[in-house]
């Protein structure tokens, strides 16, 4: 049922807290989707959110860059601090915040534009490049970081929708990376990909850890074990357990966590 997990080899070397959440509550209309979540996410670390469907892990992820603001009926309470600054403060412009906290979605969603324009989209709207040469450089750097440069360099002017699924997802990662975010949120980035593309994206996530704090929501426990250093287990809107990935998978403290990772609930 559950293969012996291969844990990410690098241990956590960094203890700076990037994101701190305190007593976060989320309501969709009358539904209480997230209950009292406290969590500290470290810088330059991959944190995985796992849990059964509907447990609130994606909802919580979307709180971190205020994507839930685009849903009318959604209300968020509690504090989420990035670098000690409350992102739900009235002074914070969600648009600016999202440039700092990039997001990659479940399904690859390249814009119906050329590969180049897809990557250049963020830098252009935020004015990150003064000249065409600057922009070219940002695009190339982002595509290299997303491990897509070699495949895409000869077809930058072709539509991004013409790439394969795995390539499209890496293009979306390149697009998110291009605005030089500090945090990268990934909402089940591999669920629409085949195993080979998944392996490529996972490898990429491990490299991205050098520069960003990465938070990934995943349904696959093996994936969480492979890519993350920290794991949070959500169940029915509660954060049940949060700790080092190795500890969560080998020696869970809560019996619900144990039931989930051994396949009894979920």
């Amino acid at each position: 049922m559950f293969d012996a997990p291969k844990f990410a080899e690098t241990k956590v070397t960094n203890n700076d807290i990037k994101i701190a959440a305190r007593k976060v509550q989320v309501y969709y209309g009358d539904t209480h989707a997230i209950k009292d979540v406290d969590v500290d996410i470290l810088d330059k670390t991959v944190t995985a959110f796992i849990g059964p469907s509907g447990c609130g892990k994606s909802t919580f992820l979307r709180c971190i860059n205020r994507m839930n603001d685009t849903i009318d009926i959604c209300r968020v309470m509690g504090d989420i601090l990035i670098d000690g600054e409350d992102i739900y403060d009235k002074k914070v412009d969600p648009v600016q915040l999202r440039a700092k906290v990039g997001m990659v979605f479940q399904k690859p969603n390249p814009f119906p534009k050329s590969i180049y324009d897809n990557v250049a989209y963020g830098p252009r709207i935020h004015g990150l490049a003064r000249t065409k040469a600057d922009l070219d450089e940002i695009v190339e750097k982002s595509l290299r970081r997303a491990a897509l440069w070699n495949e895409a360099k000869d077809r930058l002017d072709q539509p991004g929708t013409g790439l394969s699924g795995g390539q499209q997802q890496r293009l979306c990662i390149a697009r998110a990376v291009a605005t030089s975010p500090e945090v990268l949120l990934m909402d089940e980035p591999c669920s629409a990909l085949d195993p080979i593309a998944t392996a490529q994206v996972e490898e990429l996530i491990d490299e991205l850890r050098q520069e960003f704090s990465v938070v990934i929501v995943t349904h696959s426990m093996q994936q969480a074990a492979r890519v993350s250093q920290k794991t949070a287990f959500f169940h029915l809107g509660h954060l049940v357990e949060f700790g080092d990935t190795g500890q969560i998978f080998t020696n869970p403290k809560d019996e619900r966590t144990e039931s989930y990772i051994t396949g009894r609930i979920g």
Partner: protein
């Protein structure tokens, strides 16, 4: 027997067939102990369809072909001597038909019997007077061959009708029995009746397609006649439109084409920006309850008859433009102007653009918006840079549909832009379009077989080709758009 009664009887047989077929399916299943292949209703349906459809089709074909055959034969009975000088045979045939109808009326009124009618002779009886008594007025006395032809026509019609009754009812009955006998538990009644429905659906779509071909063919036929009388080069390249009753007209399409394009262009200039902005507001900004009210309210504009728009152009917009803009600027004194028609037509087209574009913008996947917001784009940046480009092909399709609507519009132009065919740039001048001239050429007093009348068909065909081209382009673009997200 009249067609109405025949239809009713066939439908009655059809209903009977349904119950008989169903009952027999159940009975044979019980008797043989075999499970039915299909539900009992399908057996009934199969019998009913076999009973009704071929019989009704036969009746339709008969009703269509019988007059053609009979009139061909009767037409041969009329000698050239009775055709008046300068008249046409078709006029005499019309008389024949009216006399035949009149004779029927005489019989119904009870003035005579079938044998009296056989004995009746045009040279001995005052036919004109007697027919006049039952309400059939004839212009002159009836010549003998015409009266004989009318009697023959009446007889053939009656016997034809009688034969048709027998044939249709016979076919319905025979097929009812045949399909009833065929009912058997192994029969694949469900498949059979579904195939039947399928062919019915194909037939329905064929009707639409064949009608298009029919329209083109009828236009094409008369257009060819026109070009036999009037040189095609003059029609397509002459810049003068000046039809004369006495012949020697100049029938150049260019001033009309120019008027059509000018008015349509102005209309689109009004409708496209307004419609697009409405669509963006409705699709991206408006709250759900507001949208639920605003969208139908805007679509009301599409339901207003164009003649009402025409009145609005004639009594409100036209004089307003003349009094407040054209006269003070010294640009014209006419209350009918291209601009009037363009403005009003633009208003009419707003819902075409806004409604279709709204649907298309809504069809852009939410993931596109999420992707853009997730990169820190604002709402208007997202709309400008992601949603509109993604929706553009569909929006272009909507605009082209509105354009073909504008090109075909007649009433607003007649009342707004006038009827003067002119090549000019001043939007405050009266001009006219192809459609308006088609109407005026066909409703004139000129002889049908003259170039002045037939030009209407050439104009119509040109317009048809034009809008067909636009529609094809629109379809191609819309199809391309569909491929993008699948």
């Amino acid at each position: 027997m009249s067609t109405g009664y025949i239809t009713l009887i066939v439908l009655g047989l059809c209903g009977l067939g349904f119950f008989l077929g169903r009952a027999r399916a159940l009975a044979t299943s019980r008797a043989t102990g075999k499970k039915l292949h299909s539900l009992p209703n399908y057996y009934g349906q199969a019998v009913a369809l076999f009973t009704a459809v071929p019989a009704l089709l036969l009746m339709l074909a008969w009703l269509f072909l019988q007059p053609l055959m009979i009139e061909g034969r009767i037409g041969g009975m009329i000698p050239d001597s009775v055709i008046p000088e300068g008249g046409a045979k078709s006029l005499v045939m019309a008389d024949v038909r009216r006399i035949a109808d009149g004779l029927d009326a005489l019989m119904v009124a009870g003035h005579m019997s079938e044998s009296d009618l056989d004995a009746m002779r045009a040279d001995f009886t005052d036919v004109r007077n007697r027919l006049g008594n039952v309400g059939v007025a004839l212009g002159s006395d009836v010549p003998v061959p015409v009266f004989e032809a009318a009697k023959e026509l009446r007889k053939s019609q009656n016997s034809g009708r009688f034969l048709m009754t027998i044939a249709v009812l016979g076919l319905a009955g025979a097929l009812l029995v045949w399909s009833w006998v065929r009912v058997h538990p192994d029969q694949r009644a469900r498949n059979a009746s579904e195939t039947f429905v399928l062919s019915l659906l194909i037939g329905a779509s064929l009707v639409a397609i064949l009608t298009t071909f029919g329209i083109v063919a009828s236009l094409l036929f008369e257009t060819i006649n026109f070009f036999k009388m009037y040189p095609a080069a003059d029609f397509f390249f002459s810049t003068v439109w000046n039809p004369q009753f006495r012949g020697g007209s100049d029938l150049g399409i260019l001033p009309l084409l120019w008027g059509t394009l000018y008015v349509s262009f102005l209309a689109l200039l009004v409708a496209v920006p307004l419609g697009l902005m409405i669509a963006i507001y409705l699709a991206e900004y408006a709250s759900k309850p507001l949208r639920a009210i605003a969208k139908p309210a805007i679509e009301v504009l599409a339901g207003i008859p164009t003649i009402v728009y025409g009145l609005f152009a004639l009594i409100t917009v036209g004089p307003f433009l003349r009094d407040y803009i054209a006269s003070p600027l010294g640009l014209g004194t006419s209350s009918s102007s291209v601009l009037t028609a363009g403005l009003v037509m633009g208003i009419m087209l707003i819902p075409f653009v806004s409604s279709l574009s709204d649907d298309i913008i809504n069809a852009v996947p939410q993931s596109m918006r999420d992707g853009s917001y997730g990169l820190g784009a604002t709402k208007s940046e997202t709309i400008k840079q992601v949603i509109l480009p993604a929706a553009l092909p569909g929006v272009v399709g909507a605009i082209l549909l509105a354009a073909s609507r504008a090109i075909g519009e007649t009433m607003i132009v007649v009342m707004g832009a006038g009827a003067a065919a002119k090549l000019g740039l001043n939007p405050f001048e009266a001009m006219t379009t192809i459609t308006v001239k088609i109407v005026s050429q066909l409703t004139g007093d000129t002889e049908f077989a003259s170039p002045e009348t037939l030009v209407a068909f050439a104009l119509g065909l040109t317009l048809f080709v034009f809008t067909l081209g636009l529609n094809v382009i629109a379809l191609v673009i819309v199809r391309k758009y569909r491929e993008q997200y699948e």
